[in-house]
């Protein structure tokens, strides 16, 4: 749908350009067309289904989406001077009514810069701090309306800054400077407020499965951080451009902007907002399987209701699921607590960590039933002893046994054939220990003779440190992606910024 709209607007614009070029000596500059096309492309890409899906699951991605819409697409579209084209392209008998409509009382009032500023800021604050955001996440219609609102207020906001095209509100240079300057603290404060919130603002993200493998709170903090930083950065760039423009040009800015202004890498903000911040691990309480008769009975009922259709009567298994004989309390507890069972994905797709589908009592009951029916197998490990002494040994054990698959920073990794060793940030310490002892899925198992209890304490301690206190004194850790992300940042931010600089100080002839 969005593609159709985007394509339509590009077609209309192209027709307009043709009409304009046919009747004017000076053709529309390539840059203007490129800006408009880029702006429409950004809108289409950012609102396309895959990105939308990503935004549905991650606050940071959603924030990036909005930032791209309001701070990248909107000014780009306006740099394409669509309104001016609308006046100069059609023949006079069409252009005149358009011009008259633009002078209409209502339009004049609504497009006043002060109102545009207030609308932009107001919409920003109210959508984030009211129930509107959550409602948008839950209902598609509200979401579309929200995006339309963002885009509309952004276009109105940027119009006086870009300064191309017909306007009934003369807006001096100094005013423009002030206009941008005053909006900077708004994005900063809102971003900061989101960043510092200690609880998740939008419950929708608690239930969603985060594609970056981080907790909803960490995601939210990253989103707040990116809004604050990216928003300030973009506004600062806009400030510089307004100042530069003021310097270069005391009359109409339009012609100059076409050739002088090159897209300073505003697209870098997209990546910036995808940077992941500190990691938090919500620790779920561990299930203590205390077997007694009622628990076993309840467990059997649950088993027969929810599990036996795949895992067979009396844990015997079936053609579509393995038997659960002798798997041990740790195995059952792990798979249920991490929501991997009951299976919600097809058998050939790897199940990832989700919120559990059973309550804690139900999980305890199922554990009791399985261990009572078929004793044996790893018990639920108890990890304690998080002293400073075993942190070093824990790191050594982690390095020797875990980091090849799970990554040096616990960020996870591909293990081939479509399998992934998941990031370790979401699991509780007990779940980590259970995974080590039981070797779920493709993961090897590490029994007591390979890793003693004190070894287990040590390595789980280290994983816990990775989850909660990851040392990033150097700044943004770029999602722990390593040299890949570093290269990307160097090209996009480093070289991109400097190419912007040389476009400004060099000539184009």
């Amino acid at each position: 749908m969005i593609f159709v709209l985007g394509l339509l607007s590009l077609v209309v614009y192209a027709l307009g350009v043709r009409a304009h070029d046919a009747r004017h000596r000076r053709p529309i500059s390539r840059w203007q067309i490129a800006f408009f096309a880029a702006g429409v492309t950004v809108v289409a890409v950012v609102l396309s289904p895959p990105i939308d899906a990503l935004a549905d699951a991650s606050f940071t991605a959603h924030m990036a989406q909005h930032l791209a819409l309001t701070m990248l697409a909107a000014p780009l579209i306006l740099l394409g001077a669509p309104l001016r084209l609308a006046l100069t392209a059609p023949p006079p008998r069409i252009a005149r009514p358009i011009a008259r409509a633009l002078r209409n009382r209502l339009v004049v009032i609504l497009t006043a810069p002060v109102l545009a500023w207030l609308a932009f800021v107001g919409v920003m604050w109210t959508t984030h701090l009211s129930g509107l955001y959550e409602a948008a996440l839950e209902h598609e219609a509200v979401h579309i309306g929200e995006h339309a609102l963002f885009l509309a207020t952004a276009l109105l906001f940027w119009y006086p800054i870009v300064g191309i095209g017909p306007t009934t509100h003369p807006f001096g240079h100094f005013a423009r400077l002030l206009y941008v300057l005053l909006v900077m603290p708004q994005t900063a404060f809102l971003g900061l407020a989101i960043y510092q919130s200690r609880h998740v603002l939008y419950p929708h993200y608690l239930a969603a499965r985060n594609p970056f493998g981080i907790s909803a709170l960490a995601d939210q903090q990253a989103a707040g951080e990116s809004m604050w930083i990216a928003g300030s950065l973009i506004m600062f760039v806009a400030l510089l451009l307004v100042a530069a423009d003021w310097a270069r040009n005391d009359s109409r800015l339009a012609a100059r902007i076409d050739t002088r202004l090159e897209a300073v890498p505003l697209g870098g903000s997209l990546l910036l907002s995808l940077a992941i911040a500190a990691i938090f691990a919500p620790s779920a309480a561990s299930a203590q399987a205390a077997s007694n008769a009622t628990q076993v009975r309840e467990g059997r009922n649950l088993y027969e209701l929810r599990c036996s259709s795949c895992h067979g009567i009396h844990l015997r298994g079936s053609p579509i699921a393995p038997p659960l004989l002798g798997v041990g309390a740790a195995t059952v507890d792990f798979w249920l607590e991490t929501g991997r069972m009951p299976a919600m994905v097809p058998a050939n797709v790897q199940a990832m960590h989700e919120p559990p589908q059973f309550s804690l009592e139900e999980i305890n009951a199922l554990v009791a039933y399985v261990t009572a029916t078929s004793p044996g197998g790893p018990v639920i490990p108890i990890v304690a002893n998080f002293g400073p002494g075993n942190l070093v040994r824990g790191r050594a054990i982690y390095a020797a046994n875990c980091q090849a698959c799970h990554g040096a920073m616990g960020q996870g990794g591909s293990v081939g054939y479509g399998y992934i060793a998941p990031p370790l940030y979401a699991a509780s310490v007990t779940q980590v220990a259970e995974a080590i002892r039981t070797g779920p899925g493709p993961m090897p198992r590490f029994g007591p003779s390979v890793l003693s209890q004190s070894d287990l304490d040590a390595v789980v301690h280290y994983v816990n440190v990775l989850q909660t206190q990851q040392a990033d004194p150097g700044g943004f850790n770029l999602a722990n992606l390593g040299p890949v992300a570093e290269g990307f940042v160097a090209w996009v931010f480093g070289l991109g910024a400097l190419v912007g600089v040389i476009r400004l100080i060099g000539s184009n002839a």
Binding site: A243, G416, P442
Partner: protein, 283 residues
Amino acid sequence: MNAPARGSTLQRIAALALLISLCASVGFAVAYSTTESAQLQGLALGVALAGLAVAFSIWGTSLVAQEQVVDQREMASPDWERRTAAAELEAGTHQIGRRHLLSRLLGAALGVFGVAALFPIRSLGPNPNPQLFKTKWTPGARLVGEDGKPVRAGELEVGSIVTIFPEGFVGDASSQALLLRLAPGTLHATPDRADWSPQGYVVFSKVCTHAGCPVGLYRQSTQELLCPCHQSTFNLAEQAKPISGPATRALPQLPIRIAENGYLRAQSDFHEPVGPGFWERGG
């Protein structure tokens, strides 16, 4: 040319930039002395430099007279000069070349000297060949883990994996190996390796046969090893034959036996060189 009005505005901006830069430089000195945060130090220093950048850029593009100058290029030297140079060269060279015996001897002397001068390069490293064909594994060497403790049969369950070394050589790069226990009946051992893997315990070299990285990833559900560097996959059931990725050779297998007291011991060194291929390695 710039109108004076514009110039003074730009001048103000440049002045502001320099002022900010000045404050930021002071800020950097303060940040350096009082905080350990790379972010604060970087911010101060960065703003200081950016301010100077803005000032210089404005100055160079707008506050000095924008003019264009034209230089004429000198192409190659004029013909007479080229001829003179060629003649001078020829005159001097002829004097040398006239003396045939001497010039030939000179050429030979310089040539042989050049070759001889390359010989000291040999001192930069030892003959690598002996070390490439063997590791520290000897007949009867006990398998020990990274902590130096010997491994017994029975300590490993199916689906487990341990990195091992020969006793006394923990950490040795070429001897590093993986001890795994495969599910019974899954290993298809060739006849010549029938007694290499008692009770499902197998040992393979951990050094990838493609480019030498440790093959650290194990998918126990399918009993396959994966090397993270270039994604070569080895199927353990077929004696670590590569089934995916750029590796061409199976990981060398170490023949082991279960000794008295249950300790696992090597029967001998690997039967082929471990690690990536090289010219002398043979088929």
